[in-house]
């Protein structure tokens, strides 16, 4: 692990820890509102290190508790999208023939369908479904890249000499997949998962900006940012601190993902076989 990777792992760990320990770390209740007139839109001060928002709530507490919501959503979304994507990808790779074509066309359809629109429609439809259901929804609309990656990688592995060698020795299919194919997939999946996580966190923020993410008064990095929307310049601290939190999380996730991928040799140029 390079120096950068260790730093990234440390940062990510700190952030995840702070989100978990939010109730004990946060100086105030994230929903508690200060005296209305005097305390709204306060810039960072001794009393409120990261300032207050439109409802005189302490931004530092909301950032910590918000981390729990945002990271929770991102992790659950990634789990859903990875498992869904891997299953579809693996089935498509092994199935070949019409089933493979069908699955790939459905994947293409999901890619062609503007994801934001799909989320808008569903949330407009059922009303805000609560954070967990929202995360599953995010996952259910973000699995396509993983599916294609897993399909291409599984297909490549099934055609390799060492799988044919193992079959020649007489290794039965289940053991063959478990010991010879899956371990080779693991690093690719790990890299894809970390990249997916690195895109899920800002996505929650973006959706909150469009009024879709975690519903106020519950805190999330996204809706703190969205709260400043009307006056980004005047209420800079509502934009700056969540943005830093998001950026640091995503940078660490990206660096980790790349380290995992490089060690697995997943990103090497000459493996350019097409997936046709």
């Amino acid at each position: 692990m390079t120096r950068g990777a260790r730093l990234a792992a440390a940062l990510l760990g700190a952030i995840l820890l702070s989100a978990l320990l939010a109730p004990w770390l946060a100086p105030a209740d994230p929903r508690a509102q200060g005296a209305l007139e005097s305390l709204i839109w306060q810039p960072p001060s001794a009393a409120h290190p990261l300032g207050t928002d439109s409802a005189a709530r302490d931004v530092l507490s909301r950032l910590l508790h918000g981390g729990r919501a945002t990271l929770g959503i991102a992790l659950l979304a990634v789990t859903v999208s990875m498992s869904l994507g891997s299953c579809i990808g693996a089935v498509a790779a092994v199935a070949r023939g019409p089933l493979d074509a069908l699955l790939m066309r459905v994947t293409d359809a999901f890619i062609a369908f503007p994801r934001l629109l799909l989320l808008l429609l569903v949330v407009a439809g059922v009303g805000h479904p609560g954070n967990a259901a929202f995360a599953v929804l995010l996952g259910a609309t973000g699995w396509m890249t993983t599916a294609r990656l897993v399909r291409q990688e599984t297909r490549r592995l099934l055609a390799t000499d060492h799988v044919r060698g193992a079959r020649a020795v007489g290794v039965p299919w289940p053991r063959l997949v478990a010991r010879h194919v899956l371990p080779a997939l693991a690093p690719t999946l790990a890299a894809a998962a970390t990249f997916a996580f690195a895109t899920a966190v800002p996505l929650e923020a973006g959706l909150s900006y469009l009024g879709l993410g975690v519903l106020p008064p519950a805190p999330s990095w996204g809706n703190i940012l969205a709260d400043a929307d009307a006056r980004p310049l005047a209420h800079w601290w509502l934009v700056f601190f969540p943005a830093v939190a998001i950026a640091v999380t995503v940078v660490s996730a990206n660096v980790l993902a790349e380290t995992v991928a490089r060690r697995a040799g997943a990103i090497d140029a000459d493996r350019g076989e097409d997936e046709a």
Binding site: A124, P216, A230
Partner: protein, 556 residues
Amino acid sequence: MRRLLRHAPVLFALLLAAACGRDADVGGGTVIITTSADADALVPPLRATVGGKMVTELLFDPLVEIGPELDPIGDEGFVGRLAKSWAWSPDSLVITFTLDERARWHDGAPVVARDVAAGLAAIKAPANASTLFADVLEIDSVHVVDERTAALHFRERHNEQMYSASLVTPLPSHLVDTIPDGALSSSAWAQAPVGSGPYRFVAREPKVRLELAAVADHYRGRPGPDRIAMVVSESPATAIAKLWTEEADVWDVLPPPDVAEAAKHPHIRLVRSQGFDYAFVAFNYRDPRDTARAHPLLAERRLRHALTMGVDREGIVRALFDSLGRPGLGPFVRAQYSADTTLAQLPFDTAAASALLDSLGWTGRTRDGIRTRGGRPLALRAVVPAPSANRVRASVLVQEQLRRVGVDVTLEKLEGGAFNAARDAGRWDLIFGGWGTTPSLRGTRTTWGTRTRPGWGRLNAGHFENATFTASLDSALSARDLPTARGHFRRAYEAAIDDAPAIWLYEPAPVNAVHRRFTLPAWRSEAWWRTLPQWTLDPAQALPRDRAAAGAAAAP
């Protein structure tokens, strides 16, 4: 120095202008109205939003228009537009209007009596689903007496007959009659209307911009500004930002933080005006699960009183509007003639509220302080419209304040369409509602009137029912003069406040921003754009777009 540098070209041009006659080539200038909501329709029968009202009232002249005093009773408070004079029938069920012979449509055709009939027909045709259908219910028909005379027949007498008549805007019958029912909204005319107002339609890019040009030979005289453009932005923030960069000239109802920002920009002048909107938290008198049954909790008047007393309305107003808003008084705004600021309000008194709740048996407490009775927590579900930023922020404040007196309010923020659907279905305990009012008080019947009478209470989603209120409102709306009407309204409002169908949250007192280079008459609160034709440009501060307008205006 930097500002001077930026305006060097303007100064140079002015020197040149001064040399050969001062304001010869600057003309009336171009007014750019910045907004975050595009006009929903360009023709009178279909418009509903403020943007729609503005555009249709610039493009079309009504028969008559309410005067500056905003008195809708009788007809003294009205000024003639397309109609230069009118006469009442003895039983005052028919008003006969005589049209101004100079009035022309933008395509040159004269305005005739048949156009008035076309105007009413377009509103009455059910398939058109006109937004004015309910407001002109009591106008029966239009009788074309002769080329220039049209008589409006009313089904019943009431004190705002002339105001209803002002809603029937004549339409160019030679263009509209051929459009089948229901196809009005998608007709070519509706997309690029020929009107009769001081401005005519030039060009439109939906959700981006709309351009209108002054009608030089308009029968009421040439309007001041040569061109008006309405520029649409995605969010209020971006729209208002254009004021600071002089990309726009006027925005009405400036949010408090921007009022402070405006002070830093010398080219912006602030104008105060009266508000015509009010917001409230309405209680659902019926059980959300089965609207036939009374609401298990909120049907109890004293509980409604306790909740009302638990909300610090003064604090919320100061948080949302600083000094640019006042607490709501009742189902009306201070700018309406029926307003009465002396009405006794329920005070903000958490001690009294808690005592009342205890007396009602809500003595138990859950771990996080929510009151319980017989094991059930005092929990209410509120729906909040996402598009309304003020009501969203107010909901969070109300939620916290009620939590302090032991009431658990869960907020559900719904997007525009979903909010309307939920409101009509009644699947909520509290609703953060709000109404835009007009000088006419007849709207109170629809928003707060009993649902038992035909045409009443369609928007009374909380099923508020109070005999005194209904009776007093009925007599107020048929009173022949202002003092009698005000007396009846006072009794109606007292009954409403006592029954507490809603917590009257706030009534914004808007501040509007206008570019300093325009001088304008008194600001019309209910429809600021009606004075636009009287705006005059100070040639000294003319901007490049003003001069471009002068060139264009001189050309045709």
